[in-house]
Assembly symmetry: C2
Homo-oligomer: 221 residues x 2
């Protein structure tokens, strides 16, 4: 695909992060949410991106920052109303991602009927790995994603357990929000979400294809 921009550094110029909630049946159960009949979508802004070497910051307003390890899908070719049948042609690769979530704030937002922005879209709420070229992952619905905190396994899930497949999500989203080159779709998290504290170290991976490490730090004002 001809492009003037380097897709392997999509976080530097990509304009959208579209997240899917509750896409593994066991995760909504652990949070006592209904298993959805349609994808639950929310947005992070690109300033949420953070890369290995920089810390994940605890927002000043939360006491319950949760990790959610997720497979990210990187869009190479944009489109609107993309049919499921050729949705995978729009994918150029993948990334391992964390959907960092201020769970206490999210609970308040849900109770009050407020948007999830403060719970989901704060600075450093989207740690991302290096770009993984499409050919490296033969079947994105057949990999294991995992996350350890201070060497203890917290999350381990298999992408075969997704409720809505990647082609379905691409097709569904693109009817509502046009996809563009450099966009990232977070495909949901398996069970095991839990809190992290200052100085915790998280290591996450996709099988033995890729791994990444992040430390949690307090936000300095």
């Amino acid at each position: 695909m001809a492009s003037s921009r380097n897709l392997s550094r999509f976080w530097e110029w990509g304009r959208k992060i579209i997240c899917v909630g509750r896409n593994y049946a066991e995760h909504p159960k652990e949070l006592k949410n209904e298993v959805p009949t349609e994808p639950v979508l929310f947005l992070k802004s690109p300033s949420a991106y953070v890369r290995e070497g920089a810390p994940i910051l605890l927002p000043y307003y939360t006491n319950n920052l949760h990790h959610e390890v997720e497979l990210g899908v990187v869009i190479g070719k944009g489109g609107t109303n993309i049919p499921q049948s050729n949705a995978m042609d729009h994918v150029e690769g993948y990334a391992l991602c964390l959907d960092m979530t201020a769970r206490d704030i999210q609970d308040q937002c849900k109770k009050k009927g407020l948007p999830w922005t403060l719970a989901k879209a704060f600075n450093t709420s989207c740690p991302v790995s290096d770009f993984i070229p499409k050919e490296t992952i033969q079947d994105p619905h057949n990999v294991k994603i995992w996350l350890k905190v201070n060497d203890n396994l917290r999350q381990e899930g298999h992408t075969s357990s997704m409720i809505f497949s990647i082609p379905f999500l691409i097709s569904y989203i693109s009817r509502i929000i046009t996809l563009e080159e450099g966009d990232l779709i977070l495909t949901g998290t398996p069970k095991g979400v839990a809190a992290v504290q200052e100085n915790d170290e998280m290591v996450a991976g996709i099988d033995d294809i890729i791994s990444m490490k992040f430390q949690v730090k307090k936000q300095t004002q």
Copy 2:
């Protein structure tokens, strides 16, 4: 300010649209919402931008698409933890904006504790005027914004009625979400929000400084 990009076409490359809800006391009242003690933030993605000449599309899933006319603030200089005292130095100009809202979907999201994405962030949900250089609007808290549908005045409000001022909003947002050049902040809508139908024509303006015209069309699949 030196820049390789043309800020007067911020919608082509800007990466964030941050919206403030309930920022005019009379609008939350008409929707029976509490007047907030802190700004309510939500996001649109840049694919929501639409410019004069192109239609505003009724999403296939709504029966109650509302107009909200708003003053948009265009960021020229990014920053994190920006103090209120020099927040206006980060502003390069303004735009007249509509925050198109699928009100029926928003009501459902509020009831179910779901994110507002489908209600607020769909394609063409952010019509924007031409860029207005900062010096054209001497005091952004002293202009009237208005909107007509088929020549009938529906919304008319004065920016002096904002609950949270522009410097306050810039400072508050930048503690949570880093601002970047080309970002747009929608500052909330005065009372008078109501539904539009297919083929309705909306004309909106800021005093006699700028106006823009949009037609509503059905989404074609």
